[in-house]
């Protein structure tokens, strides 16, 4: 995806970023909060905060989506803190996706568990490792395998 240019003025850059990434962020937030109105509210919070981050965001070599996601995760901190991991029948997969997710479908139960707890529940590697009663290195390895699954689909 083409990155917004650093030469764009504030309002134009904001609009370009919104056009390119709002849908992606909205999809992610919705998957976390599972409520469209609440997701819209968080999306607005992220974009209202954007003018302060615009300079850093438009620097060459910066992945705009990654920065936006970092910002979104900051805003979702309260939600992450209040979420309860749902344990299904297998006791491994803690996340029930709000919509069909072809990326999660390609992951093993363990990979899905680690990835979802980190990505959709905002947990740190150490927390997930403690919950799984395993070493952090192992959790990171599983996370890496989850990314390999994403890459296969993408």
């Amino acid at each position: 995806m083409s990155q917004p240019s650093a030469s764009l003025s504030g309002p134009t850059a904001m609009h370009t970023i919104y056009d390119q990434y709002a849908g992606m962020l909205y999809g992610y937030i919705f998957e976390v909060v599972k409520d469209k109105q609440l997701a819209e509210r968080y999306l607005m919070m992220v974009f209202n905060d954007l003018p302060h981050q615009l300079h850093d965001l438009l620097q060459p070599g910066v992945n705009v989506y990654h920065k936006l996601q970092q910002l979104t995760r900051k805003h979702l901190k309260d939600i992450f803190g209040s979420q309860q991991t749902i344990i299904d029948g297998t006791g491994v997969n803690g996340h029930i996706p709000a919509r069909p997710n072809k990326f999660l479908d390609k992951m093993s139960a363990e990979q899905k568990h680690v990835f979802c707890n980190i990505h959709y529940y905002g947990k740190s590697v150490s927390t997930v490792a403690a919950e799984m009663n395993s070493a952090e290195e192992e959790v990171r390895k599983v996370l890496q395998q989850a990314f390999a699954a994403i890459r296969r689909v993408a």
């Binding site: 996601q69 990171r140 996370l143 994403i150 689909v153």
Partner: protein, 163 residues
């Protein structure tokens, strides 16, 4: 490729960084490696693209009114920031005016009206009165002139009749 660097890339720390689940210490370490080793930078870029590709596939179009509301909110924020009062700083002491100089305060006002010293009202009054006098004179001499012209015409007619 350096085996140590490959080991670092394969450790899963980069994935933890990209998902925001790394500790601040690990984040600093990743950024250091990213700056130092192009292999780490490339691996990190690829992971960011993987996340972006996933988000792109799972995107939901936001409600059509969302942008208008965001724009209004941002405009409000910008206006609020512009109208924030500036911090008060003690003005530098002004040099006292010379005793024989008139004591005027140099004030810049925003309205379109002009204020002048009271002494000017006598000047304006004098100009007004003089204006009236000149107008009176002009009317008087105009009428006198017309009267004189009329008399001359009558005299000319009488002379012609006598001839």
């Amino acid at each position: 490729m350096n085996t140590e660097i490959q080991k670092y890339i394969d450790s899963g720390l980069l994935e933890a960084y990209v998902t925001g689940s790394a500790t601040p210490e690990e984040e600093r370490e990743v950024l250091f490696y990213k700056q130092r080793y192009p292999e780490v930078k490339d691996a990190l870029n690829q992971l960011e693209l993987d996340m972006e590709a996933m988000a792109f596939a799972m995107a939901i179009p936001p409600p059509p009114t969302a942008w208008d509301r965001i724009e209004t909110e941002i405009d409000d924020i910008i206006l609020r920031e512009r109208s924030e009062p500036t911090k008060f700083t003690e003005p530098e002491p002004k040099v006292a005016p010379e005793p024989d100089m008139p004591r005027y305060i140099d004030v810049q006002v925003q309205d379109s009206h002009m204020k002048i010293h009271k002494a000017w009202r006598w000047v304006f009054a004098a100009v007004f009165v003089l204006g009236k006098i000149f107008l009176g004179c002009a009317i008087y001499f105009y009428l006198e002139n017309r009267q004189a012209k009329q008399t001359i015409m009558e005299l000319k007619t009488e002379i012609k009749a006598l001839k």
